[in-house]
């Protein structure tokens, strides 16, 4: 059996990749995808430690999480559509009419 810490390292790596994407990409869709990556990093932990601890709650929770991620993307795509209609772009840095 693979030691728990490797799962932690893997999930941390996935989380950081997602975070990196958020910080560097300007396309709203990639922003959403990066968030998906971060959520999945958490799922890795949940599933791995569910096996580690010998109870199923973590695995079940990860199913919930996936459903919620899908819902979030659905709402997100809708909002990005509205963004595109208003700003003719899906670059997240163009929408800066409100600041300070």
């Amino acid at each position: 059996m693979i030691a728990a810490k490797y799962y932690l390292l893997l999930s941390a790596a996935v989380f950081c990749i997602g975070l990196f994407g958020i910080l560097t990409r300007r396309n709203a869709l990639i922003f959403l995808m990066s968030i998906e990556l971060m959520l999945n990093a958490a799922n890795i932990n949940l599933v791995a430690f569910s096996a580690q601890h010998g109870n199923l709650s973590g695995q079940v929770f990860s199913l919930f999480t996936m459903a919620l991620a899908a819902a979030e993307v659905a709402v997100g795509i809708g909002i990005i559509l509205v963004l595109y209609r208003n700003f003719d772009d899906v670059d997240v840095t163009t929408a800066t009419t409100m600041r300070w």
Binding site: L19, I22, R26, V92, T93, T96, T97, W100
Partner: protein, 676 residues
């Protein structure tokens, strides 16, 4: 027994009723709410008189529990209640009397002058009377704080009555903010007192003790139930006393929180008379007297009170010397006189302080109402240099104003003499033992001279000499409703000093110190003897033995200085045309006056002294004190301007900052918790 004390809550409740009436129905009423106010305050006055005699009759303080706001058994509960004792009965009498007269006067000043917005005016005035009376009757510090805030609000509303003009709203704001600054300290003090003693009651009832009594026990032995947060009890009580003093200094316009009061003169003059001279400004001093059992335990707090009081008395008096507007002179004189009261209380002169509070309320209300009458006569021009010679046109105003001025200047036998003399005498007796009090006394003494001078400079410029403008030649006349209050107050200003004629008593051996005896009764922990005991036994503050020679010497000295001030004013200003006269005087005595007498700004003592001192004081006032206030706000705004730039509008930056914040938090927590 359903005696008068059972009706005590009605004293405050009546003005509240008139507040509601004026607010909602005032516009439909013939006098726009004035009659309701007059009826209510008149009723309160009668009840207050009845209460006064009832207190005189039974001697014991009356307490009544009204409502428990928050009962947290641990650590304390907040309550509303009533405490009627000698002090509050006297104060109730003063407040209801002045309120009543001011309402009557307002008929002439506001209604007859055709002002608009009168229901708002009378509602504000009634609400003020309600709050002030409730404050006076409060049985604990928490309740006192609540109504302390409410009177501040009323003051704000009434100063800004003419809100369409430029100056009144900003004056109202200034008054509100400056007093609020002091009140923040007060609030912390209230919380501190509750946290320390578990009660903020002024008087012990039914098994619970008052907080001054608990503090006394803590200092003299058993410190049970008193939580001093690790401080030495004496130190901690001093801190608490000084925190509460913050509110007192704001409300009673003591240096350095006095700056709002002169600006507050933008309000209608009857308001100035009621709120900014006789009652609300007295709230601070009254609070110190109310919890004197607490202040008497802290020699440090007393010394600070006395010193600030003495300094304020002198500082404000010098500024009063150079003002052009009649109400400005009175405003600075008010600050100065409250300085005297603080000086008295700080110097252990409980009776002297309350005595001066009483006489001052009468004569200063009189002077303000007189000034109001003059202002009406002058078609709302307040510049004294445009008046002159009003004596013949306005005889009633003149003689009553003169009585008030003599009282203010402290000329025997007018009321101000007796009380100011006693204040200074108490300070002197303590000063002979302690240099700090001596300094405070000296400042108070010098201020007597300035008081005499500016008071009579005002009288002479306004009423004597030749009229200097057309309006002054034929001033606007006004009716009985303005004259009657003046006459009542004028008579009182002459005689009210007779309630405590200490020097005369000493000289003749007769028993004339009635006020002193008045305060010898009351709850066992609220008498002047008890305060004396605290001062001498617990705080170790000792007066030198009272002697006839000392008393008469002190009285003669202050009277002499006051007369000197009057005399100087007489020489300089009691002439047909003061400007010409000073010019002539200047040309004769070129060395002294250096030909500098072009306008009223340069007063008799050459530019080298008074004018400069006064101007320096004024500059300090407006530059440093106001500057500090403005500085704080501009620093805040600048910081705000910086802070909001963090919000760049670019969501990627937000994500980066969010991540950075999270990382910083993680690293900091990790280092603290030793995770690595």
């Amino acid at each position: 027994m359903a005696g008068p004390l059972e009706f005590a809550p009605a004293i405050a409740a009546l003005p509240f009723v008139s507040f509601v009436i004026a607010l909602f129905f005032g516009r439909y009423m013939p006098k726009k709410g004035a009659l309701a106010g007059i009826t209510a305050t008149g009723g309160s006055l009668l009840l207050a008189v009845w209460t006064y005699f009832a207190v005189m009759g039974n001697g014991e303080p009356h307490t009544e529990h009204l409502h428990t706001l928050v009962s947290v058994a641990e650590p304390f509960s907040l309550e509303l209640g009533i405490l009627i004792d000698q002090l509050s009965a006297l104060m109730l009498l003063i407040v209801t009397l002045i309120s009543f007269l001011v309402f009557v006067f307002s008929l002439g000043y506001m209604n007859d002058e055709g002002e608009t917005g009168l229901p708002r005016y009378y509602a504000g005035l009634s609400l003020f009377s309600f709050s002030m009376l409730s404050f006076v009757m409060a049985s604990n510090l928490f309740m006192a704080f609540m109504f302390f805030e409410l009177v501040g609000l009323c003051s704000y509303l009434l100063i800004g009555f003419w809100f369409r003009e430029d100056a009144p709203p900003s004056a109202a704001k200034k008054a509100f903010i400056v007093t609020r600054f002091g009140d923040y300290f007060f609030l912390i003090g209230v919380v501190g007192i509750l946290a320390t003693f578990g009660t903020s009651a002024f008087i012990g009832t039914g098994g619970t003790e008052s907080f001054p009594a608990l503090a006394e026990h803590a200092l003299t032995g058993s410190a049970d139930h008193v939580h001093t947060f690790g401080f030495d009890p004496q130190t901690w009580f001093t801190i608490l006393a000084l925190l509460v003093l913050g509110g007192v200094m704001g409300k009673s316009a003591q240096f350095p929180l006095h700056t709002w009061l002169p600006d507050a003169m933008e309000g209608p003059t009857p308001v100035s008379a009621l709120i900014h001279a006789a009652t609300m400004v007295a709230a601070g001093v009254y609070l110190v007297a109310r919890m004197y059992g607490f202040y008497a335990l802290s020699p440090t707090a007393l010394a600070i009170i006395a010193f600030v009081g003495g300094f304020t008395a002198l500082f404000a008096a010098t500024m009063g010397v150079v003002k052009r507007e009649i109400k400005q002179v009175l405003a600075y004189s008010t600050i100065s006189q409250y300085g005297y009261m603080m000086l008295a209380l700080g110097a252990g002169g409980y009776v002297a302080g309350v005595f001066h509070l009483t006489t001052h309320a009468v004569f200063k209300a009189l002077l303000f109402l007189g000034a109001g009458a003059v202002i009406v006569a002058m078609h709302h021009d307040e510049d004294m240099w445009k008046m002159g010679g009003l004596k013949n046109e306005l005889p009633v105003t003149y003689y009553t104003f003169l009585a008030g001025s003599l009282a203010l200047a402290g000329i025997i036998p007018f009321s101000g003499f007796w009380s100011k003399d006693e204040v200074l005498y108490e300070a002197l007796r303590l000063g002979l033992n302690d240099p700090v009090f001596m300094a405070a006394y000296a400042m108070g003494l010098i201020a007597v001279f300035f008081t005499g001078f500016y008071t009579f400079r005002m009288v002479f410029l306004t009423f004597h000499g030749e009229p200097r403008t057309n309006i002054a030649e034929s001033p606007h006349q006004y009716g009985w409703n303005m004259k009657a209050p003046l006459v009542v107050l004028g008579a009182l200003a002459v005689v009210v000093g007779l309630i405590n004629m200490a020097p005369l008593a000493k000289l003749t051996g007769m028993d004339l110190t009635y006020l002193h005896h008045w305060f010898e009764h009351g709850g066992e922990l609220l008498t002047v003897e008890h305060y004396h005991h605290l001062l001498t036994e617990v705080s170790g503050v000792h007066h030198v033995e009272s002697s006839t020679g000392l008393m008469l010497g002190s009285g003669a000295l202050s009277l002499g200085l006051a007369l000197a001030g009057v005399a100087v004013a007489h020489v300089l200003y009691n002439v047909p045309s003061p400007e010409e006269h000073t010019d002539k005087l200047g040309s004769i005595k070129t060395v002294l006056f250096n030909n500098y007498y072009q306008d009223e700004y340069q007063v008799w003592l050459a530019e080298g002294l008074t004018a400069n001192v006064a101007r320096a004081a004024n500059t300090f006032d407006q530059g440093v004190i106001d500057g500090a206030v403005n500085g704080v706000s501009s620093v805040s705004l600048f910081a705000g301007e910086r802070v909001r730039k963090v919000q760049t509008g670019v969501v990627t930056n937000y994500a980066a900052l969010l991540t950075a914040g999270l990382v910083v938090l993680l690293v900091a927590m990790g280092l603290l918790g030793g995770w690595f």
